[in-house]
Amino acid sequence: DTAVSQTPKYLVTQMGNDKSIKCEQNLGHDTMYWYKQDSKKFLKIMFSYNNKELIINETVPNRFSPKSPDKAHLNLHINSLELGDSAVYFCASSLTGGKTNEKLFFGSGTQLSVL
């Protein structure tokens, strides 16, 4: 009964391939996010969705396409993978996304390695 679950945990692939990461939250939250954590552990927001609607797209290359079929799911598809895409990708959710004292609930991350 994990709150925010993402799959797969590890993803190793060749340059140029297309891959997807799935995320689901069972908390009833309205807002979901994708974050990227680089090798220096810096965590940066990529996308935010509120009730299936894209709210934030932080200058992410258009090879990255998030999809939210419903408010409990936010998947991330990456086309034409590049070496620089190697990182840990975290899915997260929060109750509404609109209040300053909200709390982010993170998944356990997907470690993507592009060879």
């Binding site: 996010y33 552990k41 965590l43 935010s48 934030i56 975290f90 996304g97 982010l104």
Partner: protein
């Protein structure tokens, strides 16, 4: 340029020592959060501070928000091996929680 700079970047101490981690910015934040991340896991929220000058305690951890709401500190008393992890501050700008900005991180190792 990072919006939130944490110092130190790395800290290796012995069990029982005290330590302070700093989170500094030139920007004002509506609120500031501290998260702890363990290897192979996502960050977990420790605390949210909202008011300038606010101090919150969580057992041996003391969090303070600067008077001008531009900086914060985390003080750990009598550190234990279980405190080992990556500590991240995160600032909420007045543009909304969805624009949460994370700090550069502090890796803490507490040895027995």
């Amino acid at each position: 340029t990072q919006l939130l700079e944490q110092s130190p970047q790395f800290l290796s101490i012995q069990e029982g020592e005290n330590l302070t981690v700093y989170c500094n910015s030139s920007s004002v934040f509506s609120s500031l959060q501290w998260y702890r991340q363990e290897p192979g896991e996502g960050p977990v929220l420790l605390v949210t501070v909202v008011t300038g000058g606010e101090v919150k305690k969580l057992k041996r951890l003391t969090f303070q928000f600067g008077d001008a709401r531009k900086d914060s500190s985390l003080h750990i008393t009598a550190a234990q091996p279980g405190d080992t992890g990556l500590y991240l501050c995160a600032g909420v700008r007045d543009t909304g929680f969805q624009k949460l900005v994370f700090g550069t991180g502090t890796r803490l190792l507490v040895s027995p």
